[in-house]
């Protein structure tokens, strides 16, 4: 019985549509759970400046506030370990997702970001067997996810040596930054057949390329509604083909349910894996229809889903 338990969400950033969708999903699902009396509280907290030190302070405050579990999307996989350890020592359950932490006492709901990067190149190899030049758009330098996805992409290029990465820019997962960076490097690049991305930056790349007279390469998308919509337009107009892949923001609700299960006394493995959400040419329309305007393609989880994920991991 967890009806007296209090859960907190520690979030480090709210400044993009993915995080907004994540917070919305959290609010929706936990709101119902609180109303149904499953848990006593599920309060979300967001830091102002997207900094590990600020989030560490936030977690320490949660310890003082007496939460029973902390669901955590971390600014850094390691820099919060000190605070997380303190939470564990205070008897608090810590479940990290998306931005996971390496501290052994915490649970991790991870996406295999490396595989995500590799699969992008694999997809391209099927569409363009002859291979060609690729442009890579990376995220924020020095951040774990950026490093992982990029490593996966380079692994993929090794696996399919017909591809060659001829340019690499940092788009910070923001489409205007990506647009600027791509526009700056594009004039000096040879022909490119594909753009491998990390999510949130595909539309910006498309805008930058559309502004030149180049042929539109295959740009891997990242599940944002604007990206999907652009893809749909291109598909309807000239049969443009690509794929889109990202982690679903609703994973915050899975983390919530996992935390609830742990508080309920369930035996749960420390490392859980969720699949990433991939959209292909044939299910584009369905996904687009389900995606809120300006939002991100999403999946929200129920308690039953969580139990299933936990069972599978055993």
């Amino acid at each position: 019985d967890t009806s007296a338990k209090k859960i907190a969400l520690s979030n480090n950033y709210a400044g993009n549509s993915w995080r907004q969708a994540m917070l919305t999903s959290w609010g929706k699902v936990t709101g119902e759970a609180v109303k149904a009396g499953t848990v006593a509280a599920a309060d979300p907290f967001t830091t102002a400046e997207n900094q590990a030190t600020e989030q560490a302070a936030q977690i320490q405050n949660m310890i003082l506030q007496g939460y029973d579990a902390i669901v955590l999307n971390a600014a850094s996989p390691t820099a919060l370990n000190g605070a997380v350890k303190e939470a564990c020592d205070a008897g608090i359950t810590v479940v990290s997702f998306d931005g996971i932490v390496t501290e052994p006492c915490a649970w991790r709901i991870a996406v295999n970001f490396k595989e995500m990067g590799r699969s992008e190149v694999e997809y391209l190899s099927k569409k363009i067997p002859d291979g060609g030049n690729l442009l890579e758009i990376r995220g924020l330098a020095g951040v774990f996810v950026d490093d992982e996805i990029s490593a996966g992409i380079h692994e993929g290029v090794k696996q399919f040596p017909q591809f060659k990465i001829v340019g690499s820019v940092h788009g910070d997962w923001a489409q205007d930054v990506a647009q600027k960076a791509v526009a700056g490097i594009l004039p000096s690049l040879p022909d490119i057949v594909g753009v491998v991305t990390q999510g949130g930056d595909g539309y910006g790349a498309a805008q930058a390329i559309a502004a030149t007279d180049r042929k539109m390469p295959i740009i891997i998308m990242g599940n944002r509604e604007d990206e999907l919509k652009w893809w749909k337009e291109q598909k309807d107009a000239k049969g443009y083909e690509t794929m889109s892949v990202s982690i679903a923001p609703g994973v915050s609700t899975l983390a919530f349910w996992v935390a609830q299960q742990i508080l309920d006394g369930k035996e749960v493995k420390k490392d859980l894996v969720v699949p990433f959400l991939r959209i292909d040419q044939d299910n584009l329309e369905t996904n687009l229809a389900n995606t809120q305007a300006g939002g991100v393609a999403n999946v929200e989880y129920t308690q039953a889903d969580a139990i299933k994920v936990i069972e599978q991991a055993k």
Partner: protein
């Protein structure tokens, strides 16, 4: 002094020189094939830095400690609200622009109210304000991305005679700024205030009024830049201004405006904005990793200021 020497005495020449060298090195990679593309891209993206940079320059001219950190949040709020209001309708373009200008007004008003009424140093006042504005942006649309009206999207992304339209807008704003600074009483006033506030007061300058107008001007330019940027990049995002915090300050100081206030300079903003865009493009083009790229950017900024600043010290 020969004309050439006199040119080298100008504080803005160094940013232009740096921009030119970087531009040249970049196009040489493709032996000149990328000249047009790179130049157009540089003008386009420099335009946004120029617009916010000019506002920031006016504020910095007001003297030590004056700076507006609310620029990115203002851009975001103006962009998101305007796009939401226009809701892809071409007929709403003007009301959209108006609303973003009003937002700039309100933010500027808030900034100066904090600075004046609560005596909070500008750097902290505008930082606090930016948090509130950012919250307001989140609250109004939660990261919703709405496309700009088609006419506006077309206008911001296309060229006239090979020159990007946004660059033309930025040029017009620069001319206005130059005119204000060099030819009007207002320009004299902000320069005087920047050198010594007590002296300005005793010389009969309406100090508060002038500072207030300057903070308004900066916020309005930021909101106009936000409006244009949102239309240019096909929709507003909650993080769309974040880049322009450092950028707006960097282009002002690299452009040769005195950080201690009292002395501003418009051409330098252009040189520095082009430079800031081109240096990233160059380092990207040469395929350098993020770490090296950052180090090079820093070292180049320092060398530019060494050349420019050292020169000025010698001139005295």
């Amino acid at each position: 002094m020969t004309p050439l020497l006199r040119l080298f005495g100008k504080p803005w020449i160094w940013s232009w020189l740096a921009a030119f060298i970087v531009w040249f090195l970049t196009i040489m990679v493709t032996l000149g094939a990328s000249t047009l593309g790179l130049s157009q891209a540089a003008l386009t993206f420099a335009a946004f830095s120029v617009i916010v940079g000019i506002g920031q320059m006016f504020v910095i001219t007001l003297g030590p400690g004056n700076i507006d950190l609310s620029v990115p949040a203002t851009m975001t709020l103006a962009g998101t609200v305007a796009l939401k209001l226009m809701n892809v309708e071409n007929g709403m373009i003007l009301p959209g622009l108006l609303v973003s200008i009003v937002i700039g007004f309100v933010v500027g008003l808030g900034n100066y109210a904090l600075i004046k009424a609560l005596r909070i140093p500008p750097i902290i006042a505008t930082l606090s304000m930016s948090f509130i504005v950012q919250s307001a942006a989140i609250w109004t649309n939660r990261g919703l991305r709405i496309k700009p009206p088609s006419v506006l999207a077309e206008f911001t992304t296309s060229h006239t005679l090979g020159v990007p339209n946004v660059a033309i807008v930025a040029l017009l704003i620069s001319l206005l700024a130059w005119f204000l600074l060099e030819k009007t009483i207002y320009g004299r006033w902000i320069s005087a205030i920047g050198q010594s506030m007590p002296a300005a007061r005793m010389a009969g300058i309406p100090v508060d009024g002038t500072r207030f107008v300057t903070y308004l001007f900066c916020a309005v330019l930021a909101s106009v830049a936000g409006y244009l940027l949102a239309c240019f990049s096909g929709g507003a995002a909650l993080n769309m201004g974040s880049e322009y915090l450092l950028m707006s300050i960097a282009v002002v100081v690299i452009g040769g405006t005195a950080v201690a206030g009292g002395d501003s300079n418009v051409p330098g903003i252009w040189g520095a904005s082009l430079f800031m865009f081109l240096v990233v493009s160059m380092l990207n083009t040469y395929g350098l990793g993020a770490g090296i790229r950052l180090i090079m950017t820093g070292l180049i900024i320092i060398s530019v200021i060494m050349l420019a600043g050292g020169r000025r010290a010698g001139m005295r």
